[in-house]
């Protein structure tokens, strides 16, 4: 938010710093979710063994959030509430179909990423609400997950990023696929059509190519200083293949860097 103020892109009359509100910085497993308080710092997530065990996708993605100096101050709630379509955490939350807990003086409300992210830097958050907690569904130990990103330099805004979680049946075909892409649409987007395409099929090069082609049809990137729309579209296809391959190898019990 401070960059927006420094560049005079935003000139709010009042700012309320919630940084010192107690009790909003925590990470714990609760049933099927990894529950993270809005004021939990990126750095705490990066260092957390619990996150690595329960949601390795989040551990992998968090390292792409800015640099250490940013992650020491930045919070998970801030990343979600900011609504940047190229940000890592919204992409992960969208892929996992997680939940955002909003609070106001009357109580709490739980919304999905789909309901929460409206367009570039705009969310459904009302002036009297705050993001209280983020719930990331726990990833089963047998699943394979992967977060891949291309940025001009590590720590820059991502050009394209893809989060994938796959499950394989005993026969080795996809029994569940969760896939989301960031940086190419006005909000982080779950690639539901691609998920359906992959479901029940055996992972192979031909199938990944089909998933890649469909992704390129689905995304609607825009051009900017860092890359043209055509480049981002091509990159989307490539990144979907990379994420799927990595996640599949991990689900098969292999290790990939």
């Amino acid at each position: 938010m401070i960059p927006l103020l420094n560049m005079r892109l935003s000139t709010p009359k009042y700012i309320i710093d919630i940084g010192r509100v107690g009790g909003l910085s925590y990470i714990h497993a609760d049933g099927e979710s990894l529950v993270i308080g809005a004021l939990t710092k990126h750095r705490d997530i990066e260092k957390s063994k619990l996150v690595k065990e329960k949601c390795p996708l989040l551990s992998e993605a968090i390292r792409w959030v800015g640099h250490e100096q940013i992650r020491n101050r930045g919070t998970v709630g801030g990343s979600i509430a900011h609504g940047d379509p190229s940000a890592e955490l919204p992409c992960v939350l969208t892929a996992l179909r997680g939940e955002i807990v909003l609070a106001d003086e009357n109580g709490e409300e739980i919304v999905s990423p789909e309901e929460f992210f409206l367009t570039y830097m705009l969310t459904s958050l009302q002036p009297d609400q705050l993001v209280k907690e983020i719930r990331f569904p726990i990833i089963k130990p047998a699943s394979g997950s992967a977060f891949v990103e291309v940025a001009r330099r590590h720590g820059d805004f991502g050009l394209v990023e893809v989060a994938a979680v796959v499950d394989l049946s005993e026969e080795g075909s996809f029994s569940e696929v969760k896939l989301a892409i960031g940086g190419v649409n006005s909000i982080p987007t779950a690639l539901e059509d691609v998920e359906r395409l992959l479901f029940g099929k055996e992972p192979n090069e031909e199938l990944f190519k089909k998933a890649s082609d469909l992704t390129m049809e689905l995304v609607e990137p825009e051009s900017d200083l860092h890359g043209t729309a055509e480049y981002r579209r091509e990159l989307s296809g490539t990144m979907v293949i990379r994420a799927l391959k990595k996640a599949t190898i991990r689900a098969q019990g292999g290790r990939v860097m």
Binding site: I2, N6, D17, I70, N72, R73
Partner: protein, 158 residues
């Protein structure tokens, strides 16, 4: 606008000032405390020149308001020098290895690296590169900075 009273510790010294709520921590350090070692480059968290320590962690002082540092312990590049006025081992390593040319980015590098070496006293080159990835230097091409960090790490372990 009414000022806000803040109390903090800067380089070991207790400071109490009244500041505008809108004042950036980086501007507070430079203009109110006259500690001009902290440099301001991009003012949106990209270049790393303004890196300082807040409660021991390296952070961007241009992305914090001074009022947010109330009650915190802040260290700037001025804290590195030895009591007798000599450069500390890290500053000396930068000097020995020509790890700076114009020097604008140097305070940020020194603060980033000093906290990094406290956690990891024997880093490999890849770790050093990762550590300084959040700081931009347009003069040195980074090679000499990496050499300096290696030398500083060796000095500490010896």
């Amino acid at each position: 606008m009414d000022g806000v009273k803040i109390n903090l510790k800067v380089n070991g010294q207790d400071i109490s000032r009244e500041v505008d709520a809108r004042l950036l921590l980086s501007d507070f350090i430079r203009e109110n405390l006259l500690l001009t070692g902290t440099h301001i480059g991009c003012e949106h968290g990209v270049c790393g020149a303004c890196t300082i320590h807040v409660n021991g962690d390296p952070v961007r002082s241009c992305l914090m308001l001074a009022v947010q540092a109330d009650g915190c312990e802040v260290k700037t590049v001025e804290s590195l020098i030895q009591e007798n006025g000599d450069l500390n081992h890290l500053q000396q390593a930068f000097s020995d290895n020509h790890a700076l040319q114009c020097g604008f980015c140097t305070p940020g590098f020194l603060m980033t690296v000093s906290s990094f070496l406290e956690e990891n006293s024997n880093p490999c080159e890849a770790e050093i590169r990762k550590c300084i990835s959040g700081n931009l230097c347009r003069c040195t091409g980074y090679s000499n900075i990496i050499k300096a960090v290696k030398q500083a790490a060796q000095t500490v372990s010896n």
